[in-house]
């Protein structure tokens, strides 16, 4: 068992393109950490540096406290599951699982025991004699995971392992990976661009953007208190609504002047003086917006229903507020016909303010957690 630390790790490709900027990250022993971000944000490069498949331009990678910068991938005591499965097409499932053990000189009886045990865990015992081309996508992914399990590594690395599976299978495998972590009690680092996987799998998520970690923390904590506009927009589906505007001070309250409306900000929301000179964006999540026809002035965002997406258990109401489009998530039975006037009242304790230019968070107050 071992943790992983990255100390000021940087990766610059020949030609000057920086994939990962100076980055430090501590992953505790047995922790399940998810690196999430859009494609090209450097998350896979980071994972490959930990695996030893890429060499960091600068900085140090430590696994279990041991610096591994010059250590070959095979000697790092890690296992990796690839997005494309990367199982050997010319070998049977059994040989795929056993190959790494044989290369390491594990005695045949021991290798056989481990292969059968892993196959049992993953429910692929009946497929051991088959070749990869005779397997479905989900079965191939199980083989890929099995190949990692038999190695009994200190650290598991997952590189978008579910992105080639269909939606139903993805949900199923997500659950199995979570259970696998509980069962094996091993450090796991999981890379994905899927925010649902990030929210559901990780004990901790690190949201990455353009080669940097924007925010790191427990999934719900990051969801509730995004440090930047990028994080706020990336986590959550549909994403957070952003309304451009400026701040103004009245005698008693801070007012947000949007395009065509004024909203009084809640009293607990403290904003530094510099925020009043800047263009800002007000952020509010779809589930924190309710329609209230009786809403008092300066407590709502006015608009009209553009369209409604009924999802069965809930509905997504798209509201046009001047030029801005806002999505409000509501219970399925509330009626909102197209064209109907809306007074969208945000939950006062769940508003966020961001600088329009840099996207950094302006309000000091922490939002109350998702109920």
């Amino acid at each position: 068992m071992a943790g992983v630390s990255l100390a000021k790790v940087r990766k610059t490709y020949p030609g000057g393109a920086a994939a990962v900027h100076e980055m430090s990250l501590e992953i505790a022993d047995r922790e399940f950490v998810v690196l999430v971000g859009p494609s090209g944000c450097g998350k896979t490069t980071l994972l490959r540096m930990i695996a030893g498949l890429e060499t960091p331009t600068a900085g140090e990678v430590l696994i279990g406290g041991r610096p591994v910068n010059g250590v070959a991938p095979k000697d790092r005591d890690i296992a990796m599951v690839f997005q494309n499965y990367a199982i050997y097409p010319h070998m049977t499932v059994y040989d795929n699982l056993a190959f790494g053990l044989r290369r390491r000189g594990v005695p045949p009886e021991e290798a056989d025991r481990r292969v059968r045990e892993a196959a049992g865990i993953l429910g692929i015992d009946a497929l051991l004699d088959r070749r990869p081309r005779a397997l479905s996508g989900g079965q191939r992914q199980r083989v890929a995971v099995g190949r990692a399990i038999v190695r009994e590594p200190k650290v598991f690395l997952f590189d978008e392992p579910l992105s080639n599976l269909d939606a139903r299978l993805r949900v199923e495998m997500r659950k199995e990976i979570k259970l696998l972590h509980r069962r094996l009690q091993t450090t796991m680092l999981y890379v994905t661009h899927d925010q649902v996987e990030a929210m559901t799998l990780g004990e901790r998520v690190c949201v990455m953007n353009a080669g940097r970690i924007e925010q790191s923390g427990a999934p719900l904590e990051v969801y509730d208190n995004p440090a930047t506009r990028f994080v706020a927009a990336f986590l959550g589906s549909p994403p957070m609504n952003f309304l451009p505007g400026r701040l103004r001070r009245s005698e008693t309250r801070t007012l947000f002047e949007g395009r065509g409306f004024v909203l009084a900000l809640p009293e607990g929301m403290t904003v530094g003086a510099e925020a009043f000179d800047l263009p800002v964006e007000l952020g509010v999540r779809p589930e924190d917006l309710a329609d209230d026809p009786q809403a008092a002035p300066q407590t709502f965002i006015p608009g009209a229903v553009e369209l409604v997406e009924a999802l069965g258990n809930e509905q997504l109401v798209h509201v046009l507020c001047g030029e801005a489009r806002i999505i409000s998530r509501r219970e399925a039975h509330l009626r909102a016909p197209p064209g109907a006037a809306q007074r969208l009242v945000p939950r006062p304790d769940r508003l966020c303010l961001f600088r329009a230019d840099s996207g950094s968070r302006l309000d000091a107050r922490r939002r109350t957690p998702t109920p």
Partner: protein, 271 residues
């Protein structure tokens, strides 16, 4: 135009297949019969021609020589080409592209241009290898390299990077990746290279004529040629000898073409 493609294929088959059929039939007919009616069918098949071929001097020996030389040259060229192609496809080193171009440049040298210099090189005062197997194996393997490297490099380049990474994590070094993963996956390309080289080497005449003068070291093309020289073109016997000469090529072809079936990489990565 549904019929067009089958029609063209049938015509091609007739053009390429007929000489083979004629050769096979003619080998089973007596010389007199053959001279009288060159295109008739063998109504009373006779194995006399085959017997005569083996009774004549040196055909069996030439056959064995050819087998030895061809097997060795194909093995050497394919092995060396695979190793070189793997390095060109999957390893980074200084001067890689320049070196590769140099290999390819070998393809634009007509082999026969080198005959005189090779003759000197192999002769006394040079390597002194004339009338040995090595005199033929070396040049054959060398001239087979450029094309083989080109074909195999393309095949190795097609191997997904993830597979290479997986093998590295599984404990393979460069050779392990080459041996356990890249080579088995390149079987279709290897089969192509083997067939192509075997065919060229088996039929090679000019080098053999130049570099071998000892009758006991002659290869099959030289032995076949002598059917014409010594006996005033014995048609039936020549056909019988040719039939025998074709057999190993057919064997190589059928053994290797099963490997050429596409889709061997299916299942490696998604899709």
């Amino acid at each position: 135009m549904r019929w067009l493609r089958p029609a063209i294929l049938a015509a091609l088959l007739a053009v390429t297949g007929y000489p083979l059929v004629w050769m096979t039939f003619s080998a089973l007919r007596t010389e007199g019969d053959l001279r009288a009616q060159p295109f008739a069918l063998p109504m009373r098949p006779s194995w006399e021609n085959y017997r005569a071929v083996f009774a004549g001097a040196g055909f069996g020996r030439a056959y064995v020589n050819s087998l030895l030389v061809a097997c060795a040259a194909v093995a050497v060229s394919t092995g060396a080409a695979a190793a070189a192609a793997f390095a060109f496809a999957r390893m980074r080193f200084r001067g890689r592209e320049a070196l590769f171009l140099l290999f390819l440049a070998g393809m634009i040298i007509p082999p026969h241009v080198t005959l005189i210099s090779l003759n000197r090189l192999m002769g006394p005062g040079g390597l002194d290898l004339k009338d040995t197997y090595l005199a033929l194996i070396g040049p054959y393997a060398g001239f087979a390299l450029p094309m083989s490297v080109l074909i195999l490099r393309t095949a190795f380049e097609e191997m997904p990077r993830d597979l290479e990474d997986a093998a590295r994590l599984d404990g393979c070094g460069a050779f392990g990746i080459f041996w356990h993963v890249a080579l088995p996956l390149a079987r279709p390309a290897l089969a192509t290279v083997v067939i192509f080289n075997a065919l060229t080497i088996w039929n090679e005449f000019a080098f053999a004529l130049t570099l071998v003068s000892d009758r006991g070291m002659r290869t099959l093309p030289l032995a076949l040629w002598e059917f014409k020289g010594e006996r005033g073109m014995m048609l039936g016997q020549t056909c019988a000898a040719l039939c025998l000469a074709v057999l190993p090529l057919l064997a190589v072809y059928f053994a290797a073409q099963r490997q050429m079936i596409r889709g061997l990489t299916a299942g490696a990565v998604k899709g």
